[in-house]
């Protein structure tokens, strides 16, 4: 134990994950169909100007890399916070309905053609959707029990899912429906630094709010009443977790679409490595989420260079079997 109370193992884990994220960032900048690689990257970093190469790096790969880190860390962090607060290892950031609401906001922008008029209409609409969901959630379950929060979240999730289906159902032409469906699969392709600028403030604000909930998550392992008797304000913690998640996940969905399983699997995977303590899981899970989304996003560029697989499809394809593996091994006790 160090004086700060963090074990050597915990510091090593986070250092290792940080190196992984750094490595992922470097690969993310140097892998792509244009063939711009490490050599060109190095020249550009040293201040050399290579016209097309620097253009590709700055305008195409850099935003994509930054967004992969922001979105991945958001999913990992909010998944860990949500599981800690709800004391349920099956919780994920979408459980309170913000992902579905953000997706619906985006669908409205696509559907009405607003997104064709100006590019940022889509993320703005998505963030508005997420904020709308969290307001409804607070009205329904603000002072109620945690169970009410989950039930209200499920209701909101289903409602916005249904509204999205309605939009698809009433779609005037198949192309509009295709556009919506492809967007919903989740991807980081062709995002600009404008997307980064728009989403980053919301995402960073969300992270900060979630960080404030960390200590109360530990106390909540004893149950709500014991935590309250230790000075934890339960409704305040709930507001922190709900608003923090809504801000960062709403903004993440706004720029990437819905990317599944990261928020569920990453906290699961890392929990035994941080000694199961909810507060310690937050940072590690954020780093782990960033690493996984970075590498998944590199993977989609490599496996099918022609028609890129959507990122959300890949995370779900890899995540679902892996989750099943975790469940089976955890149940027989062999995984722990």
């Amino acid at each position: 134990m160090t004086p700060g109370g963090f074990s050597i193992g915990y510091i090593t884990l986070n250092a290792g994950l940080s190196v992984l994220v750094g490595f992922g960032c470097a690969l993310s900048l140097t892998i792509g169909p244009s063939g711009v690689g490490f050599g060109e990257l190095w020249t550009v970093i040293l201040g050399g100007d290579l016209d097309t190469a620097s253009l590709i790096l700055r305008e195409i790969r850099l935003p994509r890399m930054i967004l992969a880190v922001l979105v991945g860390a958001t999913l990992g962090l909010s998944g860990a916070a949500m599981q800690g607060f709800l004391r349920n290892p099956l919780a994920e950031p979408g459980v309170i309905g913000v992902s579905a609401a953000a997706a619906f906001g985006a669908v409205v922008a696509l559907y009405t053609g607003l997104s064709a008029v100006f590019a940022l209409a889509l993320p703005v609409a998505a963030i508005s959707g997420a904020l709308l969901a969290v307001i409804v959630l607070q009205l329904l379950a603000g002072r109620q029990s945690t169970l009410t929060l989950i039930l209200a979240g499920v209701a909101i999730s289903s409602l916005f899912g249904a509204l999205t289906s309605l939009a698809l159902n009433l779609s005037p032409n198949p192309f509009a429906a295709f556009e919506v469906m492809f967007w919903m699969l989740g991807s980081l392709t062709d995002r600009s630094l404008m997307h980064v600028q728009l989403a980053a403030p919301f995402i960073l604000a969300g992270w900060l709010i979630l960080a404030f909930s960390a200590r109360s998550l530990d106390a909540l392992s004893l149950g709500e009443e014991a935590a309250a008797s230790l000075g934890v304000n339960i409704s305040r913690s709930r507001s922190l977790v709900v608003f923090g998640t809504a801000l960062c996940v709403g903004a993440a969905v706004a720029v990437s679409g819905v990317i599944g399983f990261v928020g569920l699997v990453v906290p699961h995977l890392l929990r035994p490595l941080v000694g199961h303590k909810p507060s310690r899981l937050l940072l590690s899970s954020a780093l782990g989420g960033a690493a996984i989304v970075l590498f998944a996003d590199i993977l989609v560029r490599l496996i099918t260079p022609g028609t890129e697989l959507k990122l959300g499809v890949v995370t779900a394809l890899l995540g679902a079997p892996f989750f099943l593996y975790l469940v089976l091994y955890a149940r027989t006790g062999r995984f722990e």
Partner: protein, 258 residues
């Protein structure tokens, strides 16, 4: 210096669960709150803790109204041992006991310098030294109960409120936990515990407070309060009494014939 509940009333959906209760807990005494199921014992305990704020009346701690204290300042004064033995996540005993230090920590501040020492001391107090690095989940029921008691003791609060700390424990551990509570009182803490076991109540408590149908019906030393007549009227049970080792004992013997 005392923890005082004054005219505490708790209404739940229009029904008075606790009716105008007055209770004082002084440092150094082990007080038991007893009474039949549904008498309002746990509700009164939670009202004192502020977990279920009283409908009317208030709670004072050393002369200060508890609602004037911040939740952390109150938590540093009154520790609570819930009945529930469940701990979420696969934490170690050290992590669990350390949670008792929560009211003493800042939002982002690390552990206080004395944290490790306090964890060790509390584990020694409950006679589980050297168990800190074991997983809580693999402990026996009796060990879990004592670790959670150590967690409450780690708050180092002058008052401890325990809700049925011996429920679901075998006789050996029941005696053990009661001895530990008595030791805390001897060390100067004010300890209030909800109890169902009349034998343990007669044996260990300095004072017995009996609740019936939401009201405190009597409050005094076990010898004065736990009389055949009162137990028959409150519990509908006739006790068997005697003396051993210089103290009196009591067993609930048979249901009173109606």
């Amino acid at each position: 210096m005392s923890l005082v509940a004054k005219d505490v009333q708790v209404d739940i959906s229009g029904c008075a669960i606790v009716h105008s209760a007055n209770l004082t807990l002084a440092p150094g005494e082990l007080v038991g709150l007893i009474g039949p199921n549904g008498a309002g014992k746990t509700t009164l305990l939670k009202a004192i803790l502020g977990l279920r704020p009283p409908t009317s009346g208030d709670v004072h701690i050393n002369g200060e109204t508890t609602t004037d204290l911040s939740s952390k300042a109150f938590a540093r004064q009154v520790a609570y041992l819930p009945q529930d033995h469940h701990v979420e996540w696969d934490l170690t005993v050290r992590d669990v006991v350390e949670l008792g230090r929560h009211p003493h920590r800042g939002r982002f501040g690390g552990k206080t310098a004395d944290c490790d020492t306090i964890v060790e001391t509390c584990l020694r107090e409950v006679e589980l030294p050297g168990l800190a690095d074991r997983k809580f989940a693999v402990l026996s029921g009796g060990e879990k109960a004592r670790v959670l008691l150590a967690r409450a003791l780690a708050v180092r609060a002058p008052y401890l409120l325990a809700d049925e700390p011996v429920a679901a424990l075998d006789p050996y551990h029941q005696l053990h936990v009661m001895e530990l509570l008595r030791a805390r009182a001897k060390a100067g803490d004010g300890v209030l515990t909800v109890l169902h076991d009349l034998t343990l109540a007669a044996r260990f408590l300095d004072r017995v407070v009996i609740m019936d149908a939401g009201e405190i019906v009597c409050d005094g030393p076990p010898g004065d309060v736990l009389t055949t007549q009162r137990l028959e009227s409150v519990y509908g049970v006739t006790p068997l009494m005697g003396e051993a080792d210089g103290t009196s004992w009591l067993i609930p013997w048979q249901r009173r014939r109606r």
